[in-house]
Amino acid sequence: MGDPALSRRGFLAASAAAGLGMTALTACGGDSDGGSSGTTTIEWWNISTTEPTKSVWAALARKFEAQNPKVKVKIVQLENDAYKSKMTALTSSGKLPDIFHTWGGGVLRQQVDAGMVEDLTDRTKPWGDALLPVAREPYLFDDRVYGIPFDIGMIGFWYNKALFKKAGISAPPTTWSGFLDAVRRLKSAQVTPLALAGKEKWPGMYYWAYLAMRTAGAEALQKAYEAKDFTGAPFVEAGEHLEELVGLKPFQKGFLGAAYSSPTGQAATVGNGRAAMELMGQWAPVVQADSGKGLGKDLGFFPFPEVEGGKGALTEVFGGGGGHALRRGAPQEAVDFLKFFASEATDLELVKKTGVLPVVPAAESAIADPNIKAVQEQLKKATGFQLYLDQAYAPAVGQEVNDSVAALISGSKSPEQVAQSITKTAKEEQ
């Protein structure tokens, strides 16, 4: 990724790639260069290109302008992948938009280390600290605040209550051995315990990542990445636990070729009641109902079980969300906008209209769906947090985790080999 010793030509190429953004930026570079009218224009880059979010956000920007007559909000919207590549180009050119979308984690850290992101710790003091603690995690580095969240979510098991009842399982398991036991019971009741999209690899990675969090503790994945060493005993152990599960043959027929959201994929298999569980994020109910029939009242949620003897706890969360950061030296108006965007009134609207989970504790009341409420409960109790690996890690390392865990699940790599492959890629990435 970003090379420290960027050549002059490299710099020029990057600026050329960022052409449009650069021109737009230089047009409103200064803090209060509003000119004769005295208005300040703040530029807001986000990835909300789909409805209803797109128009809800636009309306919010107009509302902010109405409340602050001297401020203009200029919205620049880019599709997810286009945004990522444009931001990489902008980062190497050294100039970021006033307000920009961020997932936190490794990428934001790089931008912070390059001195391009505003430290918001003091400027967001009273209201920023009141946001849901777990939602703030991805944007905190060494206890300094570099971003304000507007969404948060997590991975957990979504299960079919009716099928659990059929197999005689009274309560969702809270320990790994209890979980394996539930899998065995479901199998003997002729129920497919788990659906997995083997073709897409990332859903399989969730198992390994959570198991590693449970055996090694919530901080371990991030520390291992920074130390470029995943060969510690708890990581191998995580692979062994996953092997135990795979050994029970818990997945649906043909799972190695299954996609996630296709009509025959993971979500549809659970949504049509043909598998009892899937390990997935807070979006799972929507996709289940979209690609399959959906389970309605039979759907339940439980957190990833604890591994006996492991350092991790049931309340440690694997997830992520979305937030906003400011470029270094952004005008005060941009901070005001973040405050407006993280206010209770705004968050209520976001939760109601765009389906995100609340980051303002008081906005919880807007959640209508019991399952989303269950996720929210879990997030509120969270005692530790690990960001999605594709955002926390460099792309090559994230993909290698996906790839080698997929190999473990299909039986071609041992837990040791998984740990070694990931370590090797992490080292290659400098």
């Binding site: 990724m1 970003g2 090379d3 010793a5 960027l6 050549s7 030509r9 490299g10 710099f11 190429a13 990057a14 790639a17 590549s85 990489t88 180009a89 190497s92 083997g198 073709k199 897409e200 690899k201 027929k253 043909g254 799972f255 190695l256 070729g257 299954a258 296709s262 009509p263 025959t264 460099a394 792309p395 090559a396 993909q399 290698e400 997929a406 190999a407 299909s410 071609s412």
Partner: protein, 332 residues
């Protein structure tokens, strides 16, 4: 330019009435200049586009293959041949080469002979011949992505059309996990490739068969040759140029295979159906190891180039002799 006829005429018209003898030399030089300008003018746009969008990117990929590069800014971390040594130690890439070879062999042994058999069959006078020809050719018209989605549904384990039909007629044993089983994924993929491409090769052969003179077959018939002998000794040799082209297209297609694999299996399960192009995509656009992906593309290019040159030199030599593309015979 091969012809100077058109610009000549034009220049003449521009120059008005034939110039006096004194100015003849200057007029000729001017005309030559104009010709040259016209030629350049016509070639420039195509040349610029070709340079900008084909040649330069190719050269740049070759350059980038010697760097560790994430795809943004200019490559600056020179690593020499490291990407290439890593490539030839990578089990997935070596597997890609092996799978490419397997697909080529299967095509040569099964797909093309099958296409030939269908072509010979449909070259006979029979009722509904045109309908059959069209039906068999139709899959070729579908895009690879559509074909992939279609067969992804057909070969879905249990619920898919294939398993359902096999189940209904009591052949459940033949059904299975198709794309989802490492041991059957290549066979399934080849089945789909054959479905999609045999019609194209059949059409090529049909065109070739039309060019076989009836007199020769009749002469052989009169000489007492049986159907097999007529096919083996008359039709097949005359069809050889078509066969050679069809083999060429088939091999190049196997080297570059991407869309179908990406849509049906994305290279899985566990790399068992991955091709060079899929590996390149994974590294270039998923892992952002663009230098390494460039090395893969360079190797793909080299394999295609070596194969194409060798094939032209040794196999297509006779077919190309005296062809319009050679430089000879251009003088006049």
């Amino acid at each position: 330019m091969t012809s100077t006829y058109l610009p000549d005429k034009r220049a003449g018209r521009d120059a008005g009435p034939p110039p006096p003898a004194v100015r003849r030399d200057r007029g000729r030089a001017r005309r030559r200049m104009l010709n040259w300008l016209t030629a350049t003018g016509f070639q420039l746009p195509a040349l610029v586009l070709f340079m900008g969008f084909v040649l330069l990117p190719m050269l740049f990929a070759l350059y980038a293959a010697f760097f560790r590069w994430g795809g943004f800014g200019m490559p600056s971390d020179y690593v020499g041949g490291e990407n290439f040594t890593r490539l030839f130690q990578d089990d997935v890439f070596l597997g890609d080469l092996w799978r490419c070879l397997v697909l080529v062999m299967l095509s040569l042994v099964i797909q093309l002979p099958f296409a030939l058999a269908m072509a010979v069959l449909l070259n006979q006078r029979m009722r509904g011949r045109a309908v059959y020809r069209m039906l068999f050719f139709a899959p070729y018209v579908l895009s690879e992505a559509i074909t992939g989605i279609l067969f992804g549904m057909i070969f879905a384990p249990d619920d898919g059309f294939a398993d359902q039909v096999l189940g209904r007629i009591g052949l459940d044993g033949l059904g299975g996990e198709w794309f989802a089983d490492p041991s059957t994924v290549m066979a399934t993929l080849f089945l789909v490739m054959t479905w999609k491409y045999f019609g194209f090769h059949m059409m090529l052969y049909l065109a070739g068969l039309q060019a076989v003179p009836r007199e020769l077959t009749e002469a052989a018939l009169i000489d007492g040759a049986g159907p097999w002998q007529r096919f083996r000794n008359v039709t097949l040799p005359l069809l050889a140029p078509t066969l050679r082209i069809s083999v060429f297209l088939s091999v190049i297609g196997a080297i570059q295979l991407f869309d179908l694999v990406w849509v049906t299996t994305a290279g899985g399960p566990d790399h068992h159906s991955e091709t060079m192009a899929v590996t390149m995509f994974q590294y270039g656009f998923k892992r952002y190891q663009v230098g390494y992906a460039s090395a893969i593309s360079v190797v793909m290019f080299a394999i295609s180039l070596v194969f194409a040159l060798a094939y032209q030199r040794f196999v297509l030599r006779r077919d190309l002799a005296g062809a319009t593309t050679t430089m000879r015979g251009d003088g006049k």
